[in-house]
């Protein structure tokens, strides 16, 4: 019941903050959000899962309560963690308090609602990563969108409404597609499963439970379902060419929201891809390995090229997220322990690093009220600590060794390069790896123009150092990134344990 308490507490915290007075809502929210973080550390310490939750491994903190029955299949409250979900849970609970602190400066209206929604979103995010029943998962999955819609739409920038609605409708349409895809799977499974539990469904598919349905062969259905789910999740990830909501959402979202959007929400997409597409339908995934790998490579390079063309710092980081997510897709599609494990690790790593980048850009924005590359230069002169951390974060983004990003990317590369299930794997991998050069190009160029050189910024006030509570979250994030880069095994070991069974799902003649 610990997971229930964990999620329920976060919901309650959201409600409490929602009715708290604006003056101290921020601090209250921070205090309350520490509890889930400590809780997740406790979960970590008690973690005893073995293998992958979906393929029959031992699930940690498993809890299952029957809910209702629809069309002969039961829907239940079914939660639990394994080596893939725990790191993401920890990531979520870790990022939220930091995001809350980073909101203290920029959010100056309707604070209690803001922080309440933030915590509400956290609760749902935890639900997404913990849920093991399809319906439960889907409810959390969609419930994340609602607070996000408000967070962007109410507290965002000038085009916030456009961005919020675009985000909302686009991702919902994608969810629908994914939903249909998944449902067609359950139909094809027929009577071989009696619930919407993801483990049952995964194992039934693995056992060959897919039958014909409506005159379609099992293989056709599986392929169609794979494509529908892939496209649906691709929007969330996002993968080129269904990525265009992301830059708009990021640019308009307030800093803390961007942090969570890039840090956790995008990971929902890759997490779901891993859980659904690649764990449930490995044969389809490997049959489509070449196109998927091609899309991944295109995402990497194209996203990086777009980032290169941007003038808005947030847009740069946003597009580079598109690029980074391409690596994750590549890691998933190769079906090696390093590939899948690395992809999962990269989710966490990118969550921290992109969070750091958005946060640092936000801190600078608090002081300068601009994010445009051309509007300022020499910020290092006025905000040395912030800029120092921003530079460190940028190098993390570029995949500097001993920082988390390198670990994730390197695992993916090692896993992908010789992957037996992906034809032309070395070529795909090498092409994707070229992203590390382009990312260095645009980040360094942007940094050179804004952070260095003689100080220049037209304001009618003095630009000074950022307050401690702006900088502290940055430092904490940077520390986490370095710790994870030096000792990736603190997560990678359990990730690997859970990723292994996924890899075994594909049989390839070596």
């Amino acid at each position: 019941m610990i997971l229930e308490a964990f999620i329920a507490f976060t919901f309650v915290a959201a409600l409490v903050v929602m009715v708290a007075p604006d003056e101290w809502a921020g601090k209250l929210a921070f205090g309350l959000s520490l509890a889930p973080f400590l809780g997740s550390l406790y979960l970590w310490s008690q973690f005893d899962a073995v293998g992958n939750a979906l393929t029959g491994g031992t699930i940690a903190f498993e809890s299952r309560i029957e809910w209702l029955e629809v069309g002969g299949r039961s829907i239940s409250w079914f939660v639990g963690l394994d080596g893939i979900s725990l790191p993401l849970v920890v990531l979520t609970t870790f990022l939220v308090p930091l995001a809350i602190v980073s909101a203290w400066t920029p959010i100056d209206t309707r604070q209690s609602q803001f922080y309440g929604l933030l915590l509400f979103m956290e609760a749902n995010l935890l639900g997404v990563f913990a849920a093991l029943d399809f319906f439960l998962w889907f409810i959390f999955w969609e419930a994340v969108l609602v607070p996000m819609y408000f967070l962007i739409g109410v507290w965002g920038g000038p085009r916030r409404k456009y961005a919020a609605i675009k985000f909302f409708v686009y991702t919902n349409a994608a969810s629908l597609l994914m939903f249909i895809g998944f449902m067609s799977l359950t139909f094809a499974l027929g009577d071989s499963v009696s619930s919407f539990g993801l483990p049952e469904i995964t194992q039934a598919i693995a056992a060959g439970g897919l039958g014909t349905w409506f005159g379609f062969e099992a293989g056709t259905i599986a392929m169609a379902a794979f494509l529908a789910m892939f496209l649906g999740f691709a929007v969330k990830v996002p993968i080129v060419p269904v990525h265009t909501w992301l830059p708009d959402a990021h640019v308009e979202a307030p800093t803390p929201v961007s942090v969570l959007l890039a840090g956790v929400l995008l990971k929902m997409g890759t997490y779901a891809l891993l859980r659904f597409n690649f764990t449930m339908l490995p044969d389809q995934a490997s049959a489509l390995a070449i196109p998927i790998a091609a899309i991944a490579v295109i995402s990497v390079i194209y996203g990086a090229m777009l980032a290169l063309a941007q003038k808005d710092l947030k847009r740069i980081v946003a597009y580079s997220s598109v690029s980074s997510m391409g690596y994750v897709i590549l890691g998933l599609v190769v079906f090696t322990e390093y590939g899948v494990g690395g992809a999962t690790f990269q989710m966490v790593a990118h969550g921290l690093i992109s969070g750091l980048m958005f946060m640092a850009v936000g801190v600078m924005y608090n002081a300068t009220h601009t994010r445009m590359v051309g509007d300022m230069s020499g910020m290092a002169d006025r905000m040395p600590v912030t800029v120092g951390i921003l530079v460190a974060g940028a190098f993390g983004y570029m995949g500097l060794p001993l920082m988390a990003g390198f670990a994730g990317e390197f695992f993916i590369f090692v896993g992908a390069f010789g992957a037996p299930s992906l034809p032309y794997a070395p070529i795909f991998t090498a092409l994707a790896m070229f992203g590390i050069v382009v990312v260095a190009g645009y980040l360094l160029a942007a940094m050179q123009k804004t952070l260095f050189g003689p100080f220049r910024l037209e304001t009618d006030y003095e630009v000074g150092r950022a307050p401690l509570h702006d900088v502290a979250p940055l430092a904490v994030l940077l520390a986490a990134i370095i710790v994870l880069g030096v000792a990736p095994d603190i997560f990678f070991e359990m990730i690997r344990d859970a990723a292994g069974p996924v890899v075994e799902g594909v049989s390839v003649d070596v």
Partner: protein, 503 residues
């Protein structure tokens, strides 16, 4: 139910409603000049709730259920009480209760609110009667019992040009439709020689020469049903009627009256014209309903997407939802299990819809009461002045759109899945596409309330009154919409059980 209870007690929910209507007249008669708005509201609410309570109790007890000896027939088989009837009666009673509570504030300053309550409750009585009808004659009579008060209700604001225009259009289209409906019944009678459903069903298989006549009759009955449910092509009255009518009336019509249309449809087309028999008689009404469902939801949703007036948008969305519910008839395949699943899903959707749509219209009623205007722009920034009500409205909107944390998601889901299970993938696909479109315009309301800034700081100054009863009704509807998510299990089980008795 135990042996010594007289059979007519099975009609208790209908009777309670009828008696309540009479009691309202009585109150008005005793104190014709006094403003007894509160008394009337309380009486009608109590009556509706009593009816609801009895209904729920009956369902829980299994009255009319297969497990307790099957449906209860009364009055020479003209009446049939079964779970289906009770299920719909629950919808009618719930919506009525919400509407009359909300009306307390809405008609607070109206000259003569008394007639409103009695008309509403009598219409509800008609609906409840409709639910238990087992003869085309009873259907027609009950239908008129619903329609006639409805016309008056829509035109209730006699000095309001919108209300009158709405009433006129509703009435004219309604009169035409009931004429078509009754002519259809007469043709069916001509072909089969009976009005009792089971007799009609028995006859219709062995028609010779008169098959065409029965077919035309059935088509005309479809027309009558389509009118009541506001489905294409009999939907033209709906946008105007819902827009022009007082908002509580719109809520009542778009939720309860629509459900009433569906109960007729479900019953008539499963019991009087069963699929197998109809096909023998060369009347493929399943296909007709399928096409109507697809066209209806498309028309409703596309038109709703481009409205400026919130109430009219809701009206079109209501047409769209009629399209969804029509899937319950349009996606029947002839297999008992699949059919009861999809029809049960449609019933469950109507129940959920009853709460969320009523709530939405009642929110509009509240906005009208505040006098903030009717367009999306007028709603700008409303959430700052009325956060709770706006949150409730957001719940209704997202639920209507079928987003997961709300009950609308499950009901839509089981509906589409039922359709797919029965092989009507195309219907589900059309529904899915429409759902995406609907998300756009529903979220526009939320956007206006939460994201937009009011034109000027004084625009919303009128939002200072706190219409308690309206608030209560809206919040209650929102809570129900939320609670129907975890509590969806019993609902769908009851609905499927009720539907399975029809096949």
């Amino acid at each position: 139910m135990s042996e010594h209870v007289p059979l007519w007690t099975a009609l208790l929910p209908v009777l309670i409603l009828g008696v309540t209507g009479l009691a309202l007249l009585l109150v008005d008669t005793i104190r014709p000049n006094a403003r007894s708005n509160t008394t009337l509201s309380v009486v009608s609410a109590l009556g509706a709730l009593a009816s609801l309570a009895v209904t729920v109790w009956f369902v829980a007890e299994g009255t009319g259920d297969v497990s307790t000896g099957g449906a209860i027939y009364l009055f020479a088989d003209a009446i049939k009480v079964d779970t289906l009837a009770l299920f719909f009666t629950a919808i009618f009673a719930s919506v009525t209760a919400l509407v009359v509570v909300a009306a307390h504030d809405y008609f607070d300053d109206h000259d003569s609110p008394a007639a409103f309550y009695s008309l509403t409750v009598f219409a509800a009585t008609g609906m409840a009667l409709l639910a238990v009808a087992n003869s085309l004659a009873v259907v027609f009579v009950a239908l008129e019992m619903v329609s006639l008060p409805s016309y008056a209700l829509v035109a209730y604001l006699k000095k309001n040009r919108g209300s009158v225009e709405a009433g006129l259009k509703y009435f004219l289209i309604g009169a035409l439709s009931s004429a078509i409906f009754v002519f259809g019944i007469s043709l069916v009678y001509a072909a089969t020689g009976s009005l009792i459903f089971s007799d009609v069903a028995a006859e219709i298989e062995s028609l010779e020469g008169l098959a065409g006549v029965a077919g035309i009759g059935i088509a005309m009955i479809i027309g009558g049903v389509a009118f009541k449910t506001a489905s294409v092509p009999f939907h033209f009255w709906a946008p105007e009627a819902y827009e022009g009518a007082p908002a509580p009336v719109s809520a009542f019509l778009s939720s309860a009256s629509k459900a009433a249309g569906f109960v007729v449809a479900f019953r008539v087309f499963t019991e009087a014209f069963p699929i197998g028999a109809s096909l023998v008689a060369d009347v493929n009404w399943v296909l007709a309903f399928g096409v109507l469902a697809a066209v209806t939801m498309t028309v409703g949703n596309f038109a709703a997407a481009v409205q400026e007036n919130v109430k009219r948008m809701l009206a079109y969305s209501s047409i769209g939802h009629a399209g969804y519910a029509l899937i319950g008839l349009g996606a029947l395949s002839g297999s008992a299990a699949g059919d009861s699943a999809v029809m049960g899903a449609a019933m469950a959707h109507l129940l959920v819809y009853g709460f969320m749509n009523t709530g939405a219209f009642l929110f509009v009623a509240m906005a009208e009461r505040w006098g903030v205007g009717r367009t999306f722009e007028d709603y700008a920034g409303l959430a700052r002045r009325a956060p709770i009500a706006c949150t409730a409205m957001a719940v209704f909107m997202f639920s209507l759109a079928g987003l997961p944390p709300f009950a609308g998601f499950f009901s839509k889901y089981v509906l589409f899945m039922g359709a797919i299970d029965n092989g009507f993938v195309w219907l589900a696909a059309v529904g899915a596409i429409n759902s995406v479109i609907s998300l756009y315009y529903y979220s526009r309301v939320v956007k206006a309330m939460f994201l937009d800034d009011p034109e000027s700081s004084s625009t919303l100054d009128t939002v200072d009154s706190r219409p308690t009863a309206l608030y209560a009704a809206v919040v209650f509807a929102a809570v129900a919409t939320l609670l129907l998510l975890p509590g969806f299990g019993p609902v769908i089980e009851t609905a499927e059980a009720a539907a399975s008795a029809l096949f």
